[in-house]
């Protein structure tokens, strides 16, 4: 169990699942009263944000050993995910095995690193039990999507009940979806109340607020929704369900992490960030890490404050790591599937 309470001294390798939860190493964001002056003052200039994102990959790159280290870091931040209608216990067990051993041992050995696991495994409610069983002893937490994921349009009391059921079933992390209509109609009070209720239902489990940014219409809405969810006590804010037509993008990410930065500056609480959907290349993962490093600082490069919601990213990273080790370009069949 991670017991060190020094926020900067996060144990990075061989960590238990709990070490990857913000409430263990960080004072958990308690939320605050809804500050509408702050919410209304938020601005997001789309064009300028896009320019920053467009030039970022050209400004920041990592090579050789640094690249390998960064890619390993990216793995520890992955919420290895399966959210399919045809998920079965067997399929989830395979995924969990991959989460516990994401990289071929000989590659890790050559790199001189051990104990690398993904940040979490992310599943639907009914798959929590098999996942918890499969991950027993690995320290890898189980995250469950909830609240009528992905649309979030089921009866409100059922959405709350779903959270409680998932926590009872052993999920450490609950990925809730917000009601997009509250954002689109500017009903920030309703969004705040909803998020607060979700957070309360989570109890000790930590809560990631999925904004479904692809459906919010503007970056300003993304910024305001981010802020309101943090005010209502979100531990993480997350871009997407992976089911929208547009999922995680760099501009959306920049907008959200700047909101996180402002929230930290004013309240002292660190909220985590999870881009999800559409990040499938190792190079993209490095760009995201660089964005976090430059905009929020090194503290946000650990799995307790940063996660990728991804399913195919790991495969590309594995191939890049083998390339780093051997100098030869790799093939996907050389790496065990999840």
């Amino acid at each position: 169990m991670q017991t060190d309470t020094e926020p900067t001294a996060v144990q990075a390798t061989g960590a238990t699942g709990a070490a990857q939860l913000p409430q263990v190493t960080e004072a958990r964001n308690p939320g605050m009263v809804l500050d509408m002056d702050w919410v209304r003052a938020v601005q997001a200039n789309t064009s300028a944000i896009e320019r920053r994102c467009k030039t970022l990959p050209g400004r920041r790159s990592v090579k050789k050993s640094h690249q390998a280290a960064w890619l390993l870091k990216a793995i520890t931040c992955i919420d290895l995910t399966t959210l399919s209608g045809d998920d079965t216990a067997g399929r989830v067990r395979r995924l969990c095995a991959k989460a516990a051993h994401p990289v071929r041992p000989d590659i890790l050995q050559t790199l001189g690193v051990e104990g690398i696991t993904t940040g979490a495994v992310c599943v639907y409610h009914d798959m929590i039990e098999p996942a918890v069983e499969a991950l027993d002893g690995t320290g890898i937490p189980v995250a469950a999507v909830s609240t009528g994921f992905p649309a979030g349009l089921s009866p409100f009391h059922l959405r709350l009940e779903e959270i409680r059921e998932s926590v009872k079933a052993g999920a450490h992390e609950i990925d809730i979806v917000i009601s997009r209509r509250h954002v689109l109609t500017g009903d920030w009070h309703a969004l705040y109340d909803e998020m607060k209720a979700f957070r309360a239902a989570c109890g000790e489990a930590h809560v990631k607020a999925i904004l479904a940014t692809g459906e919010l219409g503007s970056l300003r809405n993304v910024a305001r929704a981010s802020l309101v969810c943090m005010m209502a006590g979100a531990d993480f804010i997350k871009t997407s369900t992976g089911k929208e037509s547009v999922n995680a993008t760099l501009p959306v990410s920049l907008t959200m992490i700047r909101a996180i930065r402002d929230y930290h500056a004013r309240t002292g609480y660190r909220v985590g960030y999870k881009p999800a959907g559409g990040i499938s290349k190792a190079k993209d993962a490095i760009t995201y890490l660089a964005l976090m490093k430059d905009e929020l600082g090194d503290r946000w490069l650990q799995p307790d404050l940063f996660r990728f919601g991804a399913s195919s990213l790991l495969g590309d990273i594995e191939r890049q790591l083998e390339h780093h080790v051997t100098g030869q370009y790799s093939a996907s069949y050389r790496h065990p599937m999840g």
Partner: protein, 783 residues
Amino acid sequence: MTVKEIFETMDYGPAPESAGEAMAWLDGTGRAFGSFIDGKLGAVGETFEAKNPATGEVLAQLTQATPDDVDAAIMAARRAFGAWSKRPGHERAKYLYALARLVQKHARLFAVLETLDNGKPIRESRDIDIPLVARHFYYHAGMAQLMGSELPDREALGVCGQIIPWNFPLLMLAWKVAPAIAMGNTVVLKPAEYTSLTALLFAQVCQEAGLPKGVLNIVTGDGRVGEAICTHEDVDKIAFTGSTEVGRIIRRATAGSGKALTLELGGKSPYIVFDDADLDSAVEGLVDAIWFNQGQVCCAGSRLLVQEGVADRFHAKLRARMEGLRVGNPLDKVIDVGALVDPVQLQTVTSLVDSAAGEGEVFRAPCDLPENGCFYPPTLITGLSQSSTLMQEEIFGPVLVSTTFRTPAEAVAMANNTRYGLAASVWSENVNLALDVAPKLVAGVVWVNGTNMFDAAAGFGGVRESGFGREGGWEGLQAYTRPRAKPVALKSVAPVAAPKDAKVDALDRTAKFFVGGKQTRPDGGYSQPVWSPRGALLGHVGIANRKDIRNAVEAAHAAKGWSGTTAHLRAQILYYIAENLSARAGEFAHRINRMTGKRNGAREVEAAVSRLFSYGAWADKFDGAAKPVPLRGVALAMNEPVGVIGAFCPDDQPLLGLVSLVAPAIAMGNRVVAVASEPYPLAATDFYQVLETSDVPGGVVNILTGAHAELAGTLAGHLDVDAVWSHSGADISALIEDASAGNIKRTWVNNAKGRDWYGTAGEGREFLSQATEVKTVWVPYGE
């Protein structure tokens, strides 16, 4: 470091671009260069060193071109000019296209060589400089193609001397060379002595493109080489980018030579952040504004003006951002700020900042600087006031100075409280505010919610002491072409001498000056008689002196509301002037006939009425443009009035000449101080009565009489006059150009050439261009 250690620290680590290819190219040249003259790299002469400012390493030996070299280069350009300018536009377009393609093919070599020679981060040379170079040649290949059909009335100037700075060595070459050769000119280019290597690589590219010899010549060396070009008799045009100080010297050196001149000089560009801006984006914008190219950018947003209510928060965000800036080896791809160009520049920046010690609060980015090389940390100085030296002087380094404002009006006032006028940035999410402020800023370029955006299609250039002329777009071609119309001989007319037998009219008529809408007496109290050739005393006119000029300029400034009136209103007033002049046509014709002793009066009045109609028509039709820049947004080219224009009127057509200068000026929203025809001043003094009855606000047109040669120095030297025109019969072109250097005002002088005021040369776009400044307002958008 092991992977495991890096996994813990998550450092970036080095990501160096290889210098191998560029070094191999230098080795292949023997690392010693002569000048590029008549298609050949010449012999190496007396040399100086090209150094890498990041390391001090000597890269190559460059030749200090001799006066003979300059002469040979200019002669080669002259020899090439005839054939080159006569080639069909399509032929020239093919060469420019080839140059663009070759720049792209050698893009990485150019980028690495530029970074080695200049010290700028490889990311910038690779992602910004070199792509823009190619873009300029592509764009101007198109201009060469279209010249015949779209600019049928304009022709090449001849041999262009071009002197470029060290901050964007190849990009400035492209900005100068591409439009020049596209329009059929030939070029003698002098790169900066610190940074000549990419120009010499470009010379090789010209050979690969088969560019006819002599079309582009490159002479290397220090300021003496530039001086030799500027003072050479056989050069038709000088284009200079560099410091205001040197620009002023060039203005004086070329005064009266008949050389066309464009100057792109220094700046202290304001970066205005309103309280409703996206502050994080505005902070990031500053990284691109003042830490781009180590702040060695003439249009750098170097003067931060933040609305008071958000200033503390903004500065805190900015300091936090600065902590993430990485300074170091320019060839490292993960470097934000590279090396200053030379130890001399490092010393200049250091001493400027140190000399102001104690003023403001200095914050330096806490970055690791390399031990050697010309590195200076990104610096923010807050708490300064307008009167601080650092708020006024161009630092030309990675140093941002900051102060606060309360209201939009105060922001505009502070932004404009400078001798410079190159660029400005405005950050606000309120479209009303941003689009209201942009036109009020005295600058050639305004970026709304952005900074340092450039494109070949958009004009770039300054006002005030930031220079004159535009580079890029259709407006940039003005600088490399002239009207095709053949100039005619200047008609200089001496005043009619006093007759032996004076015939004096019974009633004394006193013509006065017209200043601020009032008839005023000469300050000096002196007048002179105006005689008809037949010996009749036609009246007296005042002899204006310095103070009359001062008063007239003050009156013109007081009438600044004119510039804000609608074009429709200005059109109505011009038509009204025409109407009132027409009503008194007979009287004016008679007066002209009596003064000149000829019978052209009626024709001249009719032409003047027509001319007023022309500019009434033009007032609301000299359109700006929306430029197709590669951006989701618009770049608006707005034709703005120049400001206060001093105009010396032609001798021979006393009414038509006056109207030909005043009408386009006021049509475009300028205010004018006109000095009437020296020999025939009474048409102008009669004309003010027409103005008085035509709803022209006081001060918009001011009319003085007197000796042009006496007044030219004062008017051209006046630091609050924005442009001076002379179509005088007096030989004052040199005087005006020389005196104009004080505030680098625009000049338009006849160089002892006349023009047919009745014909097409007497009106139209040439006059309107002189009466306007193109301001490019970049408005990126998107929600």
